[in-house]
């Protein structure tokens, strides 16, 4: 039992270890603003975090009477989250170096990550809810981490209130489920949930909570404001990791539990998907701030992911996970450039990027490749990710929906190309000067770009994911 405990819960336990170390550092105030110590700590921390990547937990098993489940699929999903977080941390090293509350930042971020991992591994709705709250509450504090900015506090307030509201709705749905079936165990629920009215209402409530977290229309209103107010690292985290976890949870938790109600939720998604993609695209066309822009772009991308999920088959799930990985890399690659610019010059408007190419040739190409991948243009991986999602959606035979989604790719191309145009074509009186990127940001950017180019051209990853899904 004890051995199992360590063997199966290794990823979470290591995160807990990090959290306690950070607590001790904070309580005894070991840093005292000692710069060299901080950078030393940064390096150690990132190194330890990276070492987590090599500890892929492939042992399958259960703990605590099925409350915690571990399998190679879950381990792979956790690995994606951890590595994504590491990339974001590498990006934000410059910003963090000058921040007063470094340990708290890591503390909160790692707690959130821990919550996400528990969500994925949960075998019971209580455990799931615990993970959900652990994942979302620290995030609200993190959104407030630009301490001098008023917008940051406003965003945090919005986030905590709305996210509490969404959790409440979801909790209400869960309680209804408990009322009808008398259990919260996923094993039992899979067979006991049927199409009675209470269950349908519960499903709608739980789905609304999810739609809020993945910021699907009509629950998307918080996204742009929160993204704009949050510091870049947290915007990146919100738009990638916390969306990815919802997709994973949907695949491994929700879709099996509500399998008997599949007709209902896939029809719900059929309404949500075109609305999400279209409305987000229309709003993204008009944005001037780069963070608000990426907020709407990420809402649209979420719509594409939902398309893969709506098919409720192995191909759809596999291509959703595949796309999540690609989306993570492309978005983090985009953030690597944008946050480097923001860190060194404080520019956050799209118009500031006019003539960016003049002094920053390599960064411009990096930005363009990430944007192309987001827009789904070959040979970048984004092309394959999007096409496979559409392919999976086409398997459900809703041809009009597929046509609508495919034509929406053209609208999204317009606003992504618009930034490329600003960077490469437009000239400006005072183009941005040479942006200095730190070593760690460079490493993260290179990893993202290499991933964007290699993952698509090589079919092995999708095959591996399909194998995991079908296990």
């Amino acid at each position: 039992m004890t051995l199992d405990f360590f063997r199966l819960m290794y990823p979470e336990l290591s995160l807990i270890l990090i959290i306690f170390t950070l607590l001790i550092i904070k309580i005894f105030d070991l840093f005292k603003q000692n710069q060299s110590l901080i950078s030393f700590f940064n390096a150690i921390f990132n190194f330890y975090f990276a070492s987590l990547l090599f500890s892929i937990n492939i042992n399958s098993g259960e703990l605590f009477n099925g409350m915690y489940i571990s399998s190679s699929k879950f381990a792979f999903e956790k690995l994606i989250l951890t590595s994504g977080t590491l990339l974001i941390l590498l990006n934000s090293a410059v910003w963090l170096k000058n921040h007063k509350h470094l340990p708290e930042f890591y503390l909160l971020l790692v707690s959130s990550l821990l919550g996400m991992q528990y969500m994925i591994s949960s075998g019971n709705f209580l455990m799931f809810y615990l993970g959900l709250e652990l994942a979302s509450i620290p995030l609200a504090a993190l959104v407030n981490f630009d301490l001098e900015k008023k917008k940051s506090s406003e965003a945090a307030m919005k986030m905590i209130l709305l996210s509490a509201f969404a959790s409440g709705i979801m909790l209400f749905g869960i309680s209804l489920i408990y009322g009808t079936s008398g259990s919260l165990d996923f094993d039992i629920l899979q067979t006991s949930i049927n199409a009675n009215k209470l269950n349908i209402i519960a499903l709608i409530f739980i789905f609304s909570g999810f739609a809020f977290k993945i910021s699907a229309v009509p629950f998307h209103f918080w996204t742009a404001d929160v993204y704009e107010g949050a510091p870049f690292a947290i915007t990146a985290f919100l738009s990638t990791i916390s969306k990815a976890v919802i997709v994973f949870v949907f695949i491994s938790v929700l879709s099996p539990i509500f399998n008997n109600l599949q007709f209902l939720w896939s029809n719900l998604l059929l309404i949500i998907i075109p609305l999400t993609i279209f409305i987000a695209n229309i709003f993204a066309l008009r944005q001037r701030n780069i963070k608000r822009f990426i907020a709407f772009s990420s809402i649209a991308q979420a719509g594409y992911i939902l398309l893969g999920l709506s098919s409720n088959n192995g191909l759809g799930f596999a291509s959703s996970i595949f796309f999540v990985i690609i989306y993570l890399l492309s978005n983090i690659g985009f953030f690597a450039v944008v946050s480097a610019v923001s860190d060194s010059m404080g520019k956050e408007e799209i118009d500031d990027y006019k003539g960016f190419y003049k002094n920053n040739k390599k960064l411009s190409w990096a930005l363009a490749i990430s944007l192309f991948s987001l827009a789904g243009i070959p040979p970048t991986a984004g092309f394959f990710g999007k096409i496979f999602l559409i392919t999976a959606g086409a398997a459900t035979n809703h041809i009009l929906l597929i046509a609508f989604v495919a034509l929406n790719m053209v609208i999204s191309l317009f606003y992504y190309l618009n930034i490329v145009k600003k960077v490469f074509v437009d000239s400006s009186q005072a183009p941005l000067a040479d942006v200095k990127t730190g070593l760690s940001a460079k490493v993260s950017l290179i990893i993202c770009l290499a991933g964007i180019i290699i993952i698509g051209l090589n079919g092995a990853l999708l095959e591996y994911i399909t194998k995991l899904i079908n296990l």
Binding site: L315, A318, F372, I377, P378, P379, F383, F384, I387, F388, I390, T391, A394, A395, N397, I399, I402, A403, A406, L407, M409, V410, L413, F414, L417, V420, K421, F424, V425, G459, L462, E463, T466
Partner: protein, 496 residues
Amino acid sequence: MIDKLSLLILIPLFTALLMLFAKDKLLIKRIALAGAVLQMFYSILLIVSFINSERSSQFLFVKSISWYKTLNIDFISGIDGISVSMILLTSIVVLAGVLVSWDINERVKDYFLLLSLLSIGAYGFFISLDLFVMFFFLELAVIPKYLLIAIWGSGKKEYSAMKLALLLMTGSALILIGILLIYFRCETQTFNIVKLAEVGIPVELQRISFPLIFTGFGIFTALFPFHTWVPDGHSSAPTAASMFLAGISMKLGGYGCLRAAAYLMPQATVEYSKIIVLLSVIAIFYGAFATLMQKDLKYMNAYSSVSHCGFILLGIGMLNHTSINGAVIQMISHGLMTALFFASIGMIYKRTHTRKIDELGGIIKSMPFIGSTFIIAGLCSLGLPGFSGFVAEMTIFIGAWQNEGMFYKVSTIIACASIVITAVYILRASAKAITGKVAKEEFENLKDADFNEKSASVLLIIAILLIGFTPFLLINLINQDTFIISENFFKIITSK
């Protein structure tokens, strides 16, 4: 791993990689040139070995590499007579394009990298026998076009580039929906063209899928009413990019219509043939009349491209062996001819800094080579015997006239009549701008073409004359493959 066909993609890829590490501008240009020359010789070699090998199956040198196993997508390459001639066309236009871009001095590395990316897209498209892979390469070629026009173009370049990118992406979205329908509604669940042709696509499915795929590829080849990107895109692009756009990129659409739409879905092609003919006749006639009104040489050539590409679709829509032969010849002829046209216009513009027909005049006195290049391209365009344009259009007309029925006869007559209009605008432009009185004093001492420009033009002119005087070489190459396509139509028409 490395076989005959994948080398076609690998050569430009390695050229691009080499350029990536080169620092010096001249070195980059030399690498690009070496790659293009190598590629052209390789294409000629490929044709020779294609002719010499026995045609045991429809496609030769077929090789299949598994790509996405879960979705049954393989990287299948193979060529027949049509694709091998398109490959040669591509390599000739690429080489000519590199030669005329020698004086580019701004962002040299990016420029040549994008050119090679564009050519990778074209080669990959022509050799692939899998609808998904074809689609991949088709889209691969869109963004380089956007960047080439938006960065190095002239005039209202940003507008034109965006228009081009969005319209072409709409085209590919339509193609995507079409091929996904085929993938999911056929029992085979495959993108493999050979297999799909063997099994046959159900007629019901053809009726939905054909319009999507044909319109999608049609947008690439200026199908009326989606031709509007052509004039703006071509006239704003830098010289080499216009050559690529008109010479290769529009042919991707024509080839796609032939391979993915007409070949795979013969029943629907027969049923929709009247619409195809109608739209292409409108494009031919409208394009020709719009050309009459143009005052800018590049716009003139761009509109005439709309008209000439209409002939390609007309040839396909007329459904018989001769007319399809004509369509393929027209693709190649038009590719070479417009490339030559744009090259000469580019050379004129570089020296006189104007493309307006009214402002030019008498430039042949100081620049005999460039002037005569323009006139040769013009004569080919109006279909003078001895040039490739004559062979192509004549074959299409003979094929079209064979069809019974009032509708086809009238369409053929209207299409023939457009040649007269072509003659009007070509001769008028040549008379005013090239020969005629010297318009400005500074036109008296302009420098004629340099060595690179001369070799680019000579290369294209040789190819045009070769087709013009020995058309049987090309027809023998493609005859067998166009026959397979037309035979499908013939069976359906006679079984009615």
